[in-house]
Symmetry: C2
Subunit: 411 residues, 2 copies
C-alpha cells in the first residue's frame, strides 16, 4: 500500500514555515506498513489542489492532506474537496456543539466564521478534532480515498494517531515494513563505510542499508519488508548484533533516540544526578536535558555564566585565575565543572566555555573554539576542540560532543 | 518565473528527517521573484527521479534538486541526472584537488568513494561546494534547467546563496514578489479577523492577505506582485501603517523576527541587560536569548533551578517561604526574579516556575500551570497562567508570553 501526503499552504512555499506535518504523517503511515511514495507541498489554491489530486490518484489510491482548513477566508480546501468528490456541505450539529464548548472553555468570543467550520461534507466520514475547530474528513470514491486534516500540528497529530491510523488499519491489509536505525558518533560517512564494507556486502537481497549523515554523527538504517513482523524484527536484530561487534562504543543509541535521550536513560538507570555550567552553549545543555519528561529525577540545575562576572560571582572562580589563563581555557572549564557539581550537589557536571562566533573571543581566540569539562567525584576530564563555523553548527557539535563525553565517562 | 523544488531522500518519506532544505531554497527563490509552484520529497530511486522530473518539466522550466549526492552507494542522483540529460561523467581535477585539501584540513583519511565524487557530468556547469565533497551541478537542455545540490544543510545553503541565486538572477528577468508579515500576539485567528475585517476588505485586487496561526500568535502576511519593487514596498508599507493604528501593541514584530529577536533588539537599543531564573523552562529562555549573535552585550546569565534545593542554595530563597507557598507560587516567582537580577547585576530578570507536565507538580498543581515574573529596579510584575498540554506546547507558550511581558514592560 502506497500513499501521497499533500501539505497545503502558501507559507511553506515562500519558505516561511517548515513543513513538519508531512514528516509526522509519513512516519505514522510507515509504522502500519503504508509507504509514502512522495510528499508534496502545494499552494492554497483550488486549481493546484485539483491538479495535484488528479496526478496523485494516477500513482496511488490514498492521499492525505494537511492544512488549508482554518476559519479565515484564505483557506479553500474544504470546499474544493467537497466539490471534487461530488458532495455538498451541510451543518453538522455535533461539530457545532463541540466548537461552542471549545470556545466556552477558552473563554473566547465565538464569531460567524467559527460556526462555518461546522459546515461539513454530507457523505464523508467526519473525524473528531478534540483540540480544535476544524474537523478531519474522509472522502471516498470507488477505491480512491482522500483524507483532509487541519494544519495545526497538535490537532493534526491527535487526529492521525486516534482516528486516521485506526481507520487505515481496518481498511487495508498491508505488508509490514520494519527498520532499525543504529546511531554512531565520531566517524565520517566514508570512513564508516570502509569499516563496515564486508558487513554491508553480506546483506541478503531483500535487506536495505541507508547512510544518514549529520555533523559529527552518522545514522545507519537497516530495512526489511515482509509478511511476518516478528521474523523481520529478528532478522534485523541479528544483523545489528554483528554490527555491534564491529563498531563497539561508536554506537551511542538506536532509532529516534537523541544523544540527550541516551544520556537521560543512562542517568536514570544508574540513579545519577547532573548539573551544568554553561558559557557559549548558553543554556542549551540544560534545555535539552529538561526536554525529556521525568528529567527532574536526574537534572538539578544549571548556571549559565555568559558574562565573566557571573563566573566569578556565582561559580566562585578566582578572578586572578581567569586573568592568568583567560575564560576560554582548560583551567577555567575544570573549575566551572567542579564548582557546579558542588553547588548543585550532583554526581556529574558538564562545563562548556568557548567562542560560538561569528566574532572572535575577547581574548582573541578563534570562533569555533570549544572547551568541554566533565566533573565527577575524584576525577575531572577536559578537552579542547575546534568545531568551526557557523555559530549554530558549532554549538550543535559541541553539545553532541559534551553528551558523548559524559556517556563514555558513565559507561 | 516558477520553479519546483525536489528533495531526494528515503529518510524524509519514512518520517525520520524533517525537510528544512526545501523551505530554505523556496525562500531564497522567492527573494529574487521566483515562485515555488510546489515542493516535493521523493525516494532515492532512479525511476522516481525520472518520473518526477518528467512531470515537473510539464509544469515549470526550472527544477532544483537537493539531496542524494553522498559518497556512499545508496545515492544515485548524479548518475541518473547525467544520463537523463544525455551527458557522461568525467574526472574533474579541480574538484578532486578540492576534496583532497578538505580531507587534509580535517586530518581525515581519504577513501576511494570520496575520489568518485570528483567524477562529474562533462557538459554541466559545476558549482563549487566550499564546505563539502559533493559539487553542485547545473544541467541544461533547451529552456529546461535542473540544478542538483547536496542535502547537507550548510553545504546546500552556501551553494544556493553564493552560486545558484546569482546564476538565476543572471539567467531570468522576473516579476518582483514583495511581502511583509505582521506578527501579532495575544488574539486568536478568528477574533483578529473580526477586528481587521474592514481593513482587509479595503484591499485592492492585486493584494493578498494570509493568516498564519500558531499557539498564542498569528502572523498576517500581505503580498503583492509587480514590476517596480520600490512601488510595491511602499504600497505594502502604507497598508501596514494603517494596521498599526488598529492593532497597537498586539503587534510584536515583523517578517521573520522571532519574539526573542524583538526582545534582543529592544535590549540592545535601550542598552539594557538581562538575566533569567528558570524552573520548568529549564534553560530555554537563556538558550533562545543566546541564539542571537551579539547576545553577550545584554545577556549576563541564568540560574536554572530545576531542583527546589537549587532555589534555596543558589537563588537564596528562604526555605520556610517555599514551604508556606510551595515552589509554584507567585511569591517564589517574584523572589526568583528579584534575586537573579541582583546576582547577575542586570536591569531586568525573568523568572519562571510551573508544571510542564505530563505529571502533576509535587504539590499537586495541574500540568500546564505557569507563573512568570519580570523584575526591574523598583518594580516586579507577576502573572499566573494555564497553558494546557502537551509539555512542549506548554513550554513554548510560556516562553512566548515571558518575552512578550518583558517587551511590554520595557516599552
Amino acid at each position: 500500500m502506497k500513499a501521497i501526503v499533500i501539505a497545503i499552504g502558501d507559507e511553506i512555499l515562500i519558505g516561511q514555515v517548515v513543513d513538519t506535518n508531512s514528516t509526522f504523517i509519513s512516519k505514522e503511515l510507515y509504522s502500519v506498513g503504508i509507504e509514502t511514495l512522495k510528499s508534496i507541498s502545494i499552494q492554497d489554491d483550488p486549481t493546484q489542489i485539483i491538479y495535484n489530486l488528479d496526478q496523485a490518484f494516477k500513482e496511488v489510491d490514498l492521499i492525505i492532506f494537511t492544512g488549508g482548513l482554518g476559519p479565515t477566508n484564505d483557506d479553500l480546501t474544504k470546499l474544493t474537496l467537497t466539490e471534487y468528490f461530488g458532495d455538498v456541505l451541510v451543518l453538522n450539529t455535533d461539530v457545532l456543539e463541540h466548537i461552542r464548548s471549545l470556545f466556552k472553555k477558552m473563554n473566547r468570543k465565538m464569531v460567524d466564521m467559527n460556526k462555518e467550520q461546522a459546515l461539513l461534507p454530507k457523505r464523508s466520514t467526519i473525524l473528531h478534532n478534540e483540540f480544535g475547530t476544524a474537523a478531519g474528513m474522509v472522502f471516498e470514491k470507488g477505491n480512491k480515498i482522500a483524507i483532509s486534516l487541519p494544519g495545526v500540528p497538535f490537532e493534526m497529530k491527535n487526529l492521525v494517531e486516534n482516528h486516521v491510523i485506526p481507520f487505515l488499519q481496518k481498511k487495508y491489509n498491508t505488508l509490514q515494513l520494519v527498520h532499525k536505525t543504529v546511531l554512531t558518533y565520531g566517524l565520517p560517512e566514508s570512513e564508516l563505510a570502509e569499516i563496515i564494507y564486508d558487513w554491508e556486502n553480506s546483506f541478503p537481497d531483500d535487506m536495505k542499508l541507508a547512510y544518514l549523515p549529520s555533523p559529527g554523527r552518522v545514522r545507519l538504517r537497516i530495512s526489511l519488508k515482509g509478511e511476518d513482523r516478528a521474523e523481520l524484527v529478528s532478522r534485523i536484530d541479528e544483523k545489528v548484533e554483528s554490527l555491534k561487534d564491529i563498531l563497539g562504543d561508536l554506537i551511542f543509541g538506536y532509532d529516534d533516540e537523541q544523544i540527550e535521550d541516551v544520556v537521560a536513560k543512562l542517568l536514570t538507570t544508574e540513579k545519577l544526578t547532573i548539573s551544568t555550567a554553561e558559557s557559549f552553549t548558553g543554556g542549551k545543555l540544560a534545555s535539552l536535558l529538561t526536554s525529556v519528561p521525568g528529567s527532574s529525577k536526574y537534572f538539578k540545575g544549571s548556571i549559565v555564566s555568559y558574562a565573566t562576572e557571573a563566573k566569578i560571582d556565582i561559580l566562585n572562580i578566582d578572578e586572578s585565575l581567569i586573568k592568568e589563563y583567560t575564560v576560554v581555557s582548560e583551567e577555567v572549564a575544570i573549575l566551572m565543572a567542579d564548582n557546579a557539581r558542588k553547588l548543585f550537589k550532583t554526581d556529574y557536571a558538564i562545563a562548556t566555555t568557548g567562542v560560538a562566533g561569528p566574532d572572535r573571543g575577547e581574548d582573541g581566540k578563534d570562533p569555533g573554539t570549544a572547551i568541554i569539562a566533565i566533573s565527577s567525584k575524584g576525577k575531572t576530564i577536559v578537552k579542547e576542540f575546534q568545531f568551526g563555523q557557523p555559530r549554530e553548527k558549532m554549538q550543535g557539535r559541541a553539545i553532541a560532543m559534551a553528551f558523548d563525553m559524559l556517556r563514555k565517562e558513565i559507561q
